[in-house]
């Protein structure tokens, strides 16, 4: 199921990236979009609250008043409020499915996964509370089934459903309580969302500006075209027979209505429990390698690994023995062994005058000296005619091993950002290869969150360690095509090889001309 989901997402990714560009691709920022929708709901909710009357008669009529007498503002606000909350529900569900499909929920990532489960309950509770406040037929349906659902729990002494027996039993105070809950639960949700992203560096809590603008525009069009409206007013003396239902948030009510409260609790709590323990269930995914190790002899305390670690697994402390110096420390509970820290370390340079290359921080699975040895041995083994290419890739992006040949040396690793820019310089300067290509996950959707972003910045000299200016840029390619882009990578590599071939041909012609001159 997971691989099927992953394939589905990969195909959608390609489609959305084509239409939106990778920077605006909504599938790469489902979390950020969820935050954005939350803020839309919050802002519009504040406006609606100004006009809302917390009484039996006033609740429905005040909402109707807002919707009809000021349709151009209050009505639009109400539609934004409803549609943004529904969109948040969809985005959150897609976010959960995507993280599951892409295997981004286990190991040190368990915290974000597990902390997200209660957020689902809070999100549903927030949305249901909102529908309840309108006090129309749907609200009546929700009120009775919710109270019967809670009454099933043995903790309830007085049945909650007794408050909704008939019109005479209903109290104005109930709406005050509902408003309190409809503000309190979303605030708790916001706190939970903050905790959810607490453990990760540079969490994306807002979408790209262009995507946000497009989203607002699309929602405005939809709100004007099909404004959110109430159904017939609630009347507890007459049972709800047929009701227009929000199938996004009110689907648990189908369980309660058809299977009864007990089974609904069993299904919902059971499903949430399975989701919660998912990170620890046996899986066929590749086991994570041992965590990064710091070598105090070679750590100069620059802090570049701290700046680049996407999981906040690196911190600094006083150096073990160099007075006045800092030293990196790895938190094994947070490290996912991606190796981005090794790529960031200034000591990971093959130009260093040492007998055996070593570095300040590296992952045991692919130590920087092993990466160098592998690079050299694979390149030396190339025997084909034409330009030789060093192809680095990551285990989560395009399948680079497929292109290993007598002209291409391919190495795959946990994250492409493990490759220090100095390696590219080294390979070209020592003429071990004619060109270097680095591929990985799609732009904006790195499996290790920020690997390809850091690589882009390092190679464009915006982030340390930079690719030195002496490296001919036309001999280097960074391509973030993802797992779905393996074939395209092959095509682009052929193109790269052809460009490199043209260039060397041109160079040899120049040399010949000089000789004859």
């Amino acid at each position: 199921m997971k691989s099927l989901l992953k394939r589905g997402f990969n195909q959608l990714d390609a489609l959305f990236s084509k239409a939106f560009t990778p920077q605006w691709n909504p599938l790469y920022q489902l979390g950020g979009l969820s935050f954005f929708y939350f803020w839309i709901v919050a802002v519009t909710g504040v406006y609606l609250f100004i006009f809302f009357e917390t009484s039996i008669g006033g609740a429905y009529s005040s909402i109707e008043q807002i919707s009809h007498s000021q349709w151009y503002l209050g009505g639009v606000m109400r539609s934004f409020h409803r549609y943004a909350s529904a969109a948040m529900g969809v985005c959150v569900t897609l976010h959960l499915l995507r993280e599951f499909a892409m295997d981004r929920y286990s190991g040190p990532r368990w915290f974000s996964w597990v902390s997200g489960i209660p957020l689902l309950w809070l999100l549903f509770a927030s949305a249901i509370g909102g529908y309840w406040l309108v006090w129309d037929q749907q609200a009546q349906f929700i009120a009775i089934l919710t109270s019967e659902w809670f009454d099933w729990l043995p903790i309830m002494v007085d049945p909650m459903a007794s408050n909704f027996l008939n019109e005479a039993a209903l109290s104005d105070r109930f709406f005050s309580l509902l408003v309190f809950l409809h503000i309190g639960i979303p605030l708790t949700l916001l706190l939970g969302m903050f905790i959810h992203i607490k453990r990760i560096t540079g969490a994306r809590s807002a979408p790209a500006r262009g995507l946000a603008a497009g989203t607002l525009l699309a929602m405005l069009v939809v709100s004007l075209w099909r404004p959110a409206l109430s159904q017939a007013p609630a009347n507890l003396d007459i049972a709800v027979t047929e009701v227009g239902l929000d199938w996004i948030f009110l689907n648990p009510y189908l369980l309660i209505s058809n299977w009864g409260p007990g089974q609904a609790w069993a299904v919902l709590v059971g499903f949430s429990s399975v989701l919660t323990i998912l990170p620890w269930l046996p899986s066929r995914r590749k086991k994570q390698g041992p965590v990064a190790v710091v070598d105090p002899d070679n750590c100069n305390g620059c802090g570049w690994c701290l700046a680049d670690c996407p999981y906040e697994a690196v911190s600094m402390k006083e150096h073990d023995y160099k007075v006045g110096h800092k030293q990196s420390v790895v938190n094994p509970d947070l490290c996912v062994s991606c190796g981005i820290c090794a790529g960031a370390c200034p000591s990971s340079s093959p130009f260093r005058h040492v007998d055996e290359l070593t570095t300040g921080i590296s992952i045991p699975e692919l130590h920087i000296k092993d990466l160098l040895a592998l690079t050299e041995s694979r390149l030396e083994a190339l025997s084909g005619e034409g330009p030789r290419i060093m192809l680095y890739g990551c285990d989560h992006g395009s399948d680079v091993q497929r292109y290993q040949s007598d002209r291409v040396a391919a190495i795959s690793m946990p994250c492409s950002a493990l490759v220090p820019p100095a390696f590219v310089d080294y390979v070209l300067r020592k003429e071990l290869a004619d060109g270097v290509m680095i591929s990985g996950c799609c732009e904006g959707d790195c499996h290790h969150r920020l690997g390809n972003t850091w690589m882009d910045q390092r190679f464009s000299m915006e982030r340390m360690p930079v690719l030195r200016t002496r490296v001919p840029r036309d001999r280097v390619r960074l391509r973030w095509l993802g797992a779905q882009g393996t074939r395209q990578l092959g095509r682009e590599m052929e193109q790269f090889a052809s460009e490199l071939g043209d260039e060397s041909a041109a160079e040899s012609v120049q040399v010949v001309e000089v000789k004859h001159g």
Binding site: F20, P26, S162, I238, A239, T241, L245, D246, L254
Partner: protein, 164 residues
């Protein structure tokens, strides 16, 4: 030209996302109650009779108590559960024993039940025993009712059964 095509594609994808979303926020409708049914709700909140009698304390027993807690009688606190039964046209629709609340079973017995019944004329019999010392049902209401489709009728108890 490429930009226009891209923006059109974006508009199409926004539509693909938002149109089903707008549709599913209120449609398709869900049938919660068949049109030929009515609803009968029973909601009882009533304290059953105390089980047992008060017994007079002897002078020695009273003297053994702290001065501020001395009573002439020792009274039990436990209350009787409610034995409830609803019959519609002679057929038992609901029968339950509702225990008193509280750690010492000395609180009020509360219950709620929603029943869907065919609309139309019915002979309704609601009976209850709230005292374990009494034989059979010591509270009863028998009434002929004519329920309209989707009508909600509530049976409650306050010094006797009431139908609303």
């Amino acid at each position: 030209m490429a930009d226009i095509r891209r923006y059109l594609a974006q508009a199409a994808l926004y539509a693909v996302f938002l149109l089903p979303l707008v549709y599913f926020t209120h449609l398709p409708t869900y049938r919660h109650l068949e049109p030929d049914l009515a609803v009968l709700k029973i909601a009882i909140r009533h304290a059953g009779a105390i089980i047992g009698e008060c017994t007079a304390l002897t002078a020695e027993e009273t003297a053994a108590l702290p001065p501020n807690m001395r009573h002439a009688q020792d009274c039990p606190r436990e209350r009787s559960p409610l034995e409830l039964e609803l019959l519609l046209d002679g057929k038992s629709l609901y029968q339950a024993t509702v225990p008193p609340s509280g750690l010492h079973n000395d609180g009020i017995s509360s219950m709620y039940r929603r029943l869907e019944v065919p609309a139309g004329k019915h002979q309704l019999l609601l009976r209850m025993n709230d005292d374990v010392a009494a034989q059979g049902y010591n509270w009863q209401l028998e009434e002929s009712v004519d329920l309209q489709p989707a009508q909600v009728m509530v049976a409650s108890f306050k010094e006797g059964f009431r139908l609303e």
